[in-house]
Structure formats: C-alpha cells, structure tokens
C-alpha cells in the first residue's frame, strides 16, 4: 500500500478524467444540465481523493528518517534502464499537497463559473493535475520528462479554449506551449546525455554519480540545457515573456494552477535535478543565476508597477516573486564547496522552497480574487476600478490579507520566505541581495499603490462600470455584490494557510530544512 | 577497326542524343531517340553482347520508342512549334549537366577499374538463360510480375470511360 500510494495519487485524476468522458447523460437519462452537474460534482469529489492521500503522505512521512519515502521502483523500459521510480521527500511533499489542494479549489470554483464545454474543462483539469503531481513524485528522468510534457497539453487547451477572446488566447496558448517545449527538448537531450555517461536515468543515482564532472564543456552544456528548460518555466527574465500572455488569457482556475503549481515545476526541477546532479557546473554559473534572479525580481516588480490590467499585473508580480527563488538557489549554488556557507546556503534554499509554497498559496488566491472581480465587472482595468472597499468589504478584507502576504508582511506566510532567502543570500552574495531587496520596496509600491489604492480606496464611481453581474444567478445588477458563498469557500482555506504559516511556519520549514541541510552538507563534505 | 566502329557508333549515339534533347518537334526527338538506340545496339555488338543488342532493338525500338511516338501523336495538338522547348532553368541545367559530365568523366577515367579482359563466353545466351532461371530466378519472376502490373496499371490509368 505504501509504495503504491504515489501511483494512486498520480493516476486517480487520470481515472477521474477518463470518467468524465463517459456518456453519463445517456446512461443515467439526464438532461444536459444534469449531466454537467454530475461531471462537475464528480470531478470535485474525485479530486478530493488525491488531496486526502496527500495529507496521508504528509502524516505518514517520517521526518526523522528524511530522504525519499513511499518509494516505488520497478522497471519500465528495461532495455534502456528506465524505471518507474517514484518517491517523495521533504521538498516534494508540500508541493504535492499544494497541487492537490489548489486543484480541489480550482475545480470547486470552476464548477460555478465555467459554463461552456464543461466536460472538456473538467477532463483537462484533472489531466493537468496528473501531470503536475507526476512531476513532483518522479525520481526517474524519463518519467519526469513524460509528466513534464503531459502537463503541458491540458494547460494549452485550458488557455486556448476558455480564454477571453480579447486576450488572444490562441496566441497565448501556443506561446506557452512552444516556450516550454523549446526548453524541454534540450532538456531531453541532456537527459539522454546523462544516461550515456552514467548508464541510468535515475535522478538519485545520477546525483550520486555526478555526470560530466570531468568535462567543463559537457557539464556546462548539460547544465544550461536543464537550467534554461526550468528557467523558462519559472519563469526567469529573459524567458518570461510567455507568462503575462498566458496568465491574462487563462481562465481563473487555469491561472491559479499556472501560477500556483506550474511555475513551481521549474523551480522544483532546479532544486531536484540541476542542483544535485550538476553542483560544480551550477557553482560555476551561480552568479549568472543569481543575477537572473535579481533581474527578475526588479524587472518583474517594475513592469508590474506599470500595468493597468490587474491580472497582468499579478502575472508580472509572479516573475518578480519567482526571482526570489532563483536568487536563493543561485546563492546556495554559489556556496557549494564552501563549508562556512553551509548554513547560509541551506537557509537560502529553505527560503526559496518556502517561497515556492507561499507564492503558490498567495498568488493562487490573488488570481482567484481577480477572477472574482472579473466575473462581476467583466473588466480588469484598474482605471475603471476604485472605491470597492465600501461596496465589497468582505472581498476587500481577503484581498488585503492576500496582497500583504505577497508583499511579505510579517505575520503572514510570505514574510518567512523572503526573510530566509535574503538572510541566506546576504552572507553569500551580499551585493546582489541588496539589489534584490529593492524588489521588496517596489512590490510594496505596486501592491499598495496600484492594487489597493486603485481598486479599493478612493471614491466609488457608479458610471465607470456599466453593469455588474450576480455570479450566482448571472443576473445584471447596478451595484456590486459581495462574495458569494462558494467564493468564500474557495478563498478562506488559502487565507487561513497564509495566516497559519505566517504564525507557525515550522512544519513546512522543518521539512525543507532536513532536505537542504543534507544536500548542502553533502556538497561541503565532498 | 574497333576504334573506327566505336567512334562511328559513339558519334551516332551522342549526336542523336543531343538532337533528342534539343529538337523542338517531339516526334523528331523520338526518331532521333531511335537512332540513339541503334547506336547503342551497335556499341553492344562491339562489346560482344549481341543478345543485348537485339533486345535493345526489340524492346527499346519496338516497344518503348513506339509507345513514345504513340504518346506524342496522341497529344499532338499541344506541340505548338512556337512553344519553348525548355523550361526556365534550362541554362542552369545545361551548366549543371556540363559540370556533371566533367566530374563523371574525371571520375571514370581516374578510378582504377579492376580491368581483366577475358574472352567473351561463346555460349553467352545459354548462360544467360541458365542465370535467369538459376540465381536470378526471383528477379526474373519479379520482372514478369512487374510487366503484368505495369500493363494493368497502364490500362487502369488510360481507360476511356469512368
């Protein structure tokens, strides 16, 4: 049971997805609306299963023992030594939880707002969950790659089909796809190259064998092949241009998963594959990575500041926030082989990982919140907003908490991640860290000035927005109506997490810390 | 004598071949083609391949050239004498062909072919026959099937009514 748990988590969504395709309406003699309702509720019910299992994983994970647990390792393609190798450790565990959790919320929310091509939507959403989970549990490079690509396809469709026509969804979808693919084909070549030097596709094995350690050229090539693939996904400047388009075009739940989980795939890949397998090459190029991270932070924040489209703004803020992850990882990589920096580097990594999780929660919530207002006003233009605090107090409250989390306000989850990243990075790459801090200031600027002020403060002008919609009935209204029940159900768990982790980040941090201390001290001991 | 005959046939063959590709009137091209075939039959005789020379006449002149002339005649309305003979790339192609000739000529004269002149077998035809039913039985059968299929195919394609 324990070693098939990961398989079940990964493939339950696939089963669910396939189930949505069955002609239930015909079998159960339902009309179209009834069938759609069944599909929606069924999908949500099925998605609860991986969430529950993820919690089981978390509770069953022996933290004292550390390392990979719930492992399954059976041959898949014997001829080339590809194995069906899955396992979780302290790094992947929270991310799996995050994936399953956001999926449930996304499905729950979408069940209310998605009205066209329902069957396809829920099919693709569940498929997407499988792809993402699969990436987090894979410990074999080929398996990893397969899930990596599999996740690409449903997201492409989510953006392309349910995007708003004015956001050029088809263009955005294909851009998203091609960017990721362009990175990943080179990654595939690097994967094969690893196989030829080590004879294995196993991530753990390969990390032990350290391929290409003797060749600067080859290790550099392989490193960059992997790194660029992941940097595109993160996305790091200058590979980020697909992200604003994709985010803007995607439907709300799609954006949530895109920001909440898909971006983490890149960061996860760097932590799981690049760092352990190519430590020396990484160290060699660490400053470039740090620079990319810092540029992303500052650049993302500056561009955010210039946006008038709320969703686009949040999308750019993701570039900026994911920059922290790169900064942390880059700094840690720079510290490889320097014993005095072991603690600092572990701390930076902890911060980076923590940032991955909290960013997933907070940005996910932000995108939900954008969705909430968009469903009502059919606009995302900040110039048209203003004074919502009086009309939508509940909404304002949740938004504020989320925005402050994103900003890194102490007491909320985001604070810890930024703290650790900078705390670690200051020791190792002080100058870059200082520049990076600039990003925090800019973040404060766009969150407070752009979002809070333009949206919620000031005077509400009834003429700016032609009409409002009741999200539950679809009726036209003259006044905005505050959060509906389903929206509260969607948002509260996220907000609760932000607050909880803000106050008590230890459970998460401990998990990460075990992993990274072991990793970094392993390098130092070498 | 051999030299004289060779050059005679070579000049006939090449001259006629040039006429084949340059003559405006396609029917005349086809007739020049027949002359090429005869020239080559002569070459074959010089090379002691009498059987092949006769087959050359029989098949190339009797069948292929006839078919070509047939096709030319059946499509004769299109042979407008004012129409250009060549397509636009003719100059390029001519240059290419000349270059190709130079290259091929250099190659075939430079390569040390494993020349070992022996007497031509007297019973060549018997031997050919034995080869056709011996080691080359399968190609022989395939060739026969090929001819049948080509015939059926030609009928399928060119049949009058649908």
């Amino acid at each position: 049971m324990t070693n098939s748990l990961l398989t079940i988590i990964t493939f339950v969504p696939l089963v669910g997805a396939l189930l949505t395709l069955l002609p239930w309406g015909k079998w159960l003699k339902l009309d179209k609306a009834g069938e759609e309702r069944l599909i929606k509720n069924g999908a949500i019910a099925i998605s609860l299963l991986p969430l529950g299992l993820a919690l089981m994983l978390w509770s069953g994970y022996d933290q004292a023992l550390g390392g990979f647990q719930f492992e399954i390792n059976v041959p898949w393609v014997k001829a080339i030594n590809v194995n069906y190798h899955m396992g979780v450790d302290g790094l992947s565990l929270p991310l799996i939880f995050l994936t399953t959790f956001l999926t449930v919320l996304g499905l729950w929310y979408s069940a209310r707002v998605i009205k066209t091509r329902v069957r396809e939507f829920f099919f693709l959403f569940l498929l997407l969950e499988m792809g993402m989970t699969g990436v987090f549990v894979s410990l074999d490079l080929v398996l990893f790659y397969v899930f990596w690509e599999v996740g690409l396809v449903p997201m492409y469709f989510l953006i392309g089909i349910w995007g708003q026509a004015k956001d050029r969804p088809q263009y955005s979808a294909i851009k998203f796809f091609l960017y990721t693919l362009a990175g990943s084909v080179f990654m595939l070549l690097a994967i094969v190259a690893i196989y030829f030097t080590t004879g294995t596709f196993d991530i753990v094995e390969a990390a032990k064998l350290k391929p290409f350690a003797d060749s600067i050229l080859l290790s550099g090539l392989a490193f960059w092949a992997f790194f660029i693939a992941f940097a595109i996904k993160v996305p790091s400047w200058p590979f980020h241009t697909w992200l604003p388009d994709a985010h803007t075009a995607a439907p709300t739940a799609g954006s949530v998963l895109l920001a909440g989980v898909l971006l983490k795939l890149g960061a996860y890949g760097i932590l799981r594959i690049v760092l352990p397998i190519f430590p020396e090459a990484f160290k060699r190029y660490a400053l470039i990575v740090v620079a990319l991270g810092v540029i992303s932070i500052v650049y993302g924040a500056l561009v955010s500041l210039a946006q008038w489209d709320l969703k686009r703004l949040i999308a750019y803020s993701s570039v900026s926030h994911m920059g922290y992850v790169l900064l942390g990882v880059g700094a840690a990589a720079y510290a490889i082989g320097t014993p005095k920096w072991v603690d600092a580097s572990a701390m930076a990594l902890n911060g980076a990982a923590m940032q991955m999780f909290t960013h997933g929660i907070s940005t996910g919530a932000l995108f939900f919140l954008v969705g909430v207002i968009y469903e009502r006003a059919h606009l995302r233009d900040l110039k048209m907003f203003g004074g919502f605090s009086s009309k939508l107090p509940y909404y304002y409250g949740l938004f504020a908490v989320t925005a402050f989390t994103s900003l890194g306000l102490p007491g909320l989850a985001g604070f810890w991640s930024e703290l650790f990243v900078f705390r670690g990075a200051f020791d190792i790459v002080p100058i870059w860290a200082v520049i990076g801090v600039l990003g925090i200031v800019l973040t404060a600027a766009y969150i407070l000035w752009k979002i809070i002020q333009y949206t919620f403060l000031g005077q509400y002008d009834a003429h700016k927005i032609a009409h409002w919609t009741d999200v539950e009935t679809g009726a036209e209204l003259h006044e905005p109506k505050d959060l509906a029940f389903f929206e509260k159900v969607t948002l509260w768990p996220l907000v609760a997490f932000m607050i909880f982790l803000g106050i008590y980040p230890a459970p998460l941090l401990n998990l990460f810390n075990t992993v990274f201390v072991r990793l970094m001290s392993g390098f130092a001991g070498k | 004598m051999q030299h004289v005959m060779f050059f005679l046939f070579a000049i006939i063959t090449l001259g006629a071949a040039i006429m084949v590709v340059t003559t405006r009137n396609l029917l005349r091209s086809a007739l020049w083609l027949i002359l090429v075939f005869f020239g080559i039959a002569g070459i074959f005789v010089l090379l002691n391949a009498e059987f092949l020379a006769v087959v050359q006449i029989l098949v190339y002149v009797g069948a292929i050239a006839t078919l070509i002339i047939f096709a030319v005649m059946l499509t004769r309305q299109v042979m407008d004498p004012k129409q250009p003979r060549f397509n636009d790339q003719a100059r390029v192609v001519a240059g290419f062909a000349t270059l190709l000739f130079v290259v091929l000529a250099v190659i075939v004269t430079r390569v040390a072919w494993p020349v070992a002149i022996g007497a031509a077998p007297v019973d060549a035809i018997q031997q050919l026959g034995m080869d056709f039913v011996g080691p080359y039985a399968v190609p022989f059968e395939v060739a026969s099937v090929l001819l049948v299929v080509a015939m059926i195919g030609a009928i399928i394609i060119a049949r009058e009514h649908e």
């Binding site: - | 030299h3 590709v21 391949a49 190339y60 069948a63 070509i68 004269t109 002149i117 022996g118």
Partner: protein, 102 residues
C-alpha cells in the same frame, strides 16, 4: 580492344545529355526521353564493365536486361499517365501542372 574508359566517357556523356533533357525539357514526353537516355547510358556502363572486368560472369548483361525490362514497364505507365492527363486538360507541359502550389 578499345580501352574501357572510352565506353565510360561515352556513357557519362550520354547520361549527362539525358539528365539535361530530363531536367530542362518542358514537355513531359521530352522528360521521359531524357530518362531513357540516362538508362541507356547506364546500360553502356553495365555492359562495358561486364566485358572488361568479369566477362565470364554475365552479371552486367543480366542487369542490363532487367533495366531494359523495367524501362519498358516504366514507359508504359508513364505514357498512360500522359495520355490520361492530356485528355483532362489538353497539355503535357510540366510547368502547366500547377493545380497544387505551396
């Protein structure tokens, strides 16, 4: 005997003339005639090689016979095609076959 390379150069020349015809001719029948010249050049090669290198074995002649056979089959199908197309559109000029572009 005439040296081998006489024949080979003759064949090469014939081959190139044929290639020119095949590539430069506008009329499809003209192209086919070019191809026939090329095949004949090959036959000269085959027979000359046979005579000059391995006269005891008739491989070259056999090969040439097969080439001639195939040429006949090819011509039959090809000319049937010309006629079929000519019936459709009154032309056999290769350049006018431009229904499909891209």
């Amino acid at each position: 005997m005439v040296p081998l390379w006489y024949y080979l150069v003759l064949a090469a020349a014939l081959f190139c003339i044929g290639a020119f015809g095949a590539l430069a001719r506008k009329n499809a029948v003209g192209v086919l005639m070019g191809v026939e010249l090329m095949l004949n050049a090959v036959n000269i090669n085959l027979v000359a090689f046979w005579r000059y290198t391995t006269a005891a074995q008739l491989t070259g002649q056999l090969f040439a016979v097969f080439v001639i056979t195939v040429a006949a089959a090819e011509a039959a199908v090809g000319l049937a095609l010309f006629i079929a197309i000519y019936r459709q559109r009154n032309t056999v000029n290769v350049e006018e076959f431009d229904t499909m572009k891209g």
